[in-house]
Amino acid sequence: MFRNQYDTDVTTWSPAGRLFQVEYAMEAVKQGSAAIGLRSKTHIVLGCVNKANSELSSHQKKIFKVDDHIGVAIAGLTADGRVLSRYMRNECINYSFTYESPLPVGRLVVQLADKAQVCTQRSWKRPYGVGLLVAGLDESGAHLYYNCPSGNYFEYQAFAIGSRSQAAKTYLERKFENFTDASRDDLVKDALMAIRETLQGETLKSSVCTIAVVGVGEPFHILDQGTVQQMIDAFEIVGEQEGPDAAAGQEASAEPEQGAGAGEGVAPMDI
């Protein structure tokens, strides 16, 4: 995207009917490290790549438990993500207190989207620079949603956001038809494989990724590093050689595409 005279204010439309500040906020999501989510009929798995600033520092927290039945993975400005997670936790706990019942994830997602929309229509605010993958259960089963800085939300069977997410998305597109009836463990395996796709040849080990699961009868929790490493070893993901090579080939063609597509005039928030 290139600078233009309509991109200073979030409340300024371009002649083509775009809000550039909002689109720039969505770019911020693409810069964050990858987060993926996939669901079956009864379980949802969230995964993310841990990117630390330097070898000396610890990595930022990107997966948050919102309630026993809802969790969120973020990509983009993690500070914005933290604040939104606090909002979500507040909403859940207030609902639980009043109704003694868990807040349906579909309703939380709409509230979150409405909150994001406000920031696209006030001259003294800026859009949140974070994309959220919300995983949760309600009366109608397991759900995975993606909340954009634009205030839109979409429901997905599987999705990936952040840098090099296209590789993960390609993997998920190949496999998603099996997800509805997959077992919990197969779902986690697929999540790890999708994360591996975004690592571009780097070895997949439990120190570079975080996995969280929520499902019917299983409250939201982040799997500990030991369990994750065991699963990686068990599925012999590290050993698969054709994976990283094929992914590298796809990376090269995927990245220039992203840049060109955004500049061509299709407003990303419409997708």
């Binding site: 009043t98 109704y99 003694e100 349906p104 309703r107 309600d138 109608s140």
Partner: protein, 245 residues
């Protein structure tokens, strides 16, 4: 003239005028509500009386109403406060329906919402002067609970308000069992209501029985119970207690 005296605004909440802003005592009241769980759902009974102090003034007051798809609310106490509660619940159910998303508030959620409302009002020393019974069925699960005007709430297999607690609950404790048929449930409720009719002076002989199952709510037409006044104790009340009338 004292120029130093501060003028109080007309809607002042200090002094004797403040009491008129909050509920001190009930005026038009309903008496007991009795309810029990049976095989397919909940059965609830209440008469159609609205007393004005000791006068049995209103004889067509419906004290049980359906709430949403899954619940039934019965109330005793101040009738106008019951109508206010129905307004709150109307709004609640309306907003719930407006989500249009396959989720709906079940009896447990409505019961807890009412508990919050009643308790908060009690904390402000401005109670809704009611004892509520909330019953319902959702996804095969039966639910029966009660909330009082001070916010005391609990669930049980059978509940009652007011005099029903003293006269009906003992009968229910003895005769209630799991998986009552509809006919047995109604017979048991009628047994309780008959005792209340004999012994509660604010009860009238015009009642309704409501049923809620997975399919929905049915409230019967008003009817009366057969009563028997030829008991020897009624015929000659002074026999065991000389001087009584």
């Amino acid at each position: 003239m004292n120029f130093m005296a501060s003028k109080q605004p007309e809607n002042c909440l200090l002094g004797p005028e403040s009491d008129s802003q909050r509920t001190l005592y009930p005026y038009v009241t309903g008496t007991s509500v009795v309810a029990l769980k049976y095989k397919d759902g909940i059965l609830m009974a209440a008469d159609l009386g609205g007393s004005y102090g000791s006068t049995l003034r209103y004889k067509n007051v419906e004290r049980m109403k359906p709430i949403g798809k899954h619940s039934l609310l019965g109330a005793s106490g101040e009738i106008s406060d019951f109508q206010e509660i129905l307004r709150y619940l109307d709004d609640l159910i309306l907003y719930d329906n407006m989500w249009d998303d396959g989720n709906s508030l079940g009896p447990k959620e409505v019961h807890n919402y009412l508990t919050r409302v009643m308790y908060n009002r009690r904390n402000k020393f401005n109670p809704l002067w009611n004892s509520l019974v909330l019953g319902g069925v959702k996804k095969g699960e039966k639910y029966l609970g009660t909330v009082s005007m001070i916010g005391v709430n609990f669930e049980d297999n059978h509940v009652a308000t007011g005099f029903g607690n003293h006269l009906a609950r003992p009968i229910l404790r003895q005769d209630w069992h799991e998986n009552l048929s509809f006919e047995d449930g109604v017979k048991l409720l009628e047994k309780c209501m008959r005792v209340l009719l004999y012994r509660d002076r604010s009860a009238i002989n015009k009642l309704q029985i409501a049923k809620i199952t997975e399919e929905g709510v049915t409230i019967s037409q008003p009817y009366s119970l057969k009563t028997y006044w030829e008991f020897s104790a009624f015929a000659n009340p002074a026999q065991g207690a000389v001087g009584t009338w």
